[in-house]
């Protein structure tokens, strides 16, 4: 078998693939839907012999030869029932960018916030989602971080499935400053309205949010060394 023959230097093969060493994850991560969709489309195209420009991710509409989906490794700051001001969820989102080493050009950084399944029937209170940069972490996990600029604030009716934020500018700054991680601060407020008043009595929307909130960051980079410009091909 290939693996056992001493001639085969998998170390060299890993280097060639741009990997320092073979990862040894403890357990398999679920494959994100978007990556599953992309690789299946590529496998189908390869099987049909169709030529492909794999330096262009048509599902995302950007150029790129390396797609990384980084899971959020942050924590909730506090979980409380909707207070007077409606704030019910405060969370630090933390993405470890140290995996992004090579010089590639960043072509996309998309934060996806999955707020839980859509509910068309029992209308939930409107949510105000605010995303800010963390300027100073403070005591990691124990004190409230010092916030930097507000990146986005939007109001969405009830749990809306997933929200997406373009963080390309933010991640570029991070990369430029060679900072190894990306801290963001997420706050979700529950807006009072006649529906929510009724619903809050029946069901606490915060619990639902905290239970189902899932955040991930999709980073797409293009390494010119690995992707010849299509024009030259033409």
């Amino acid at each position: 078998a290939w693996g056992q023959t001493s001639e085969f230097q998998d170390y060299d093969f890993l280097q060639f693939l741009g990997l320092e060493k073979a990862p040894s994850p403890h357990r398999f991560q679920p494959v994100p839907r978007i990556l599953r969709k992309i690789i299946r489309a590529r496998e189908a195209a390869a099987a049909s012999g169709a030529s492909q420009d794999l330096c262009y991710v048509k599902e995302l509409g950007v150029r790129g030869n390396l797609l990384r989906l980084l899971p959020d490794q942050g924590f909730f700051l506090n979980t409380q029932k909707p207070s007077q001001d409606g704030s019910c969820l405060q969370k630090v989102l933390y993405f470890n960018l140290s995996a992004i080493k090579e010089k590639g050009k960043l072509t996309m950084a998309l934060l996806t916030l999955d707020l839980g399944p859509r509910s068309y029937y029992n209308l939930q209170p409107e949510l105000v989602v605010a995303l800010s940069v963390v300027q100073d972490r403070g005591l990691w996990g124990r004190s409230h971080p010092k916030l930097g600029r507000l990146l986005a604030q939007l109001s969405v009716p009830g749990p809306q499935g997933s929200l997406q934020f373009n963080l390309q500018g933010v991640v570029k700054d991070w990369n430029r400053n060679r900072l190894k991680n990306l801290d963001l601060y997420l706050q979700i407020l529950v807006k009072e309205d006649r529906y929510s008043r009724v619903n809050v009595q029946l069901e606490n929307p915060c619990d639902r949010l905290i239970g189902s909130l899932h955040a991930s960051l999709l980073v797409v980079t293009l390494n010119p060394k690995h992707c010849h410009s299509s024009s030259r091909k033409r």
Binding site: G3, P23, L67, L69, C227
Partner: protein, 114 residues
């Protein structure tokens, strides 16, 4: 593992594609590579005799080189090389729970020629 037998009637020592599959399981890579299961490490090998050049998917200059080799053996023979390559994508995870889809161009030999 060379899996696909050479078509009947085809002289084995002529330039053609040799298929070779590297099973990631053999390398122990199945623990971190999610897809594909393995890698086609095909290669081109075989003779490019002058008399067959016009049949072996040859380029013009391969024909000329084969002709010149006939006239002067010091001129090296035409060689068998890949003429069509295709990319591969690898889906794997690293030690930081990141799931990564990486694309590599011109990795798999589809066709050979002189």
């Amino acid at each position: 593992r060379a899996a696909i037998p050479v078509p009947k009637g085809f002289c084995k020592n002529l330039c053609h594609r040799h298929q070779l599959f590297i099973n990631f399981q053999d390398l122990g890579w199945h623990k971190w590579v999610i897809a594909p299961k393995g890698f086609m490490a095909n290669y081109c090998h075989g003779d490019c005799p002058f008399s067959m050049t016009t049949y072996l998917n040859s380029s013009n200059y391969a024909f000329m080189q084969a002709l010149m080799h006939m006239a002067d053996p010091k001129v090296p023979k035409a060689v068998c090389i890949p003429t069509k390559l295709s990319p591969i994508s690898m889906l794997y995870q690293d030690n930081d729970k990141n799931v990564i889809l990486r694309h590599y161009e011109d990795m798999v030999v589809d066709e050979c020629g002189c």
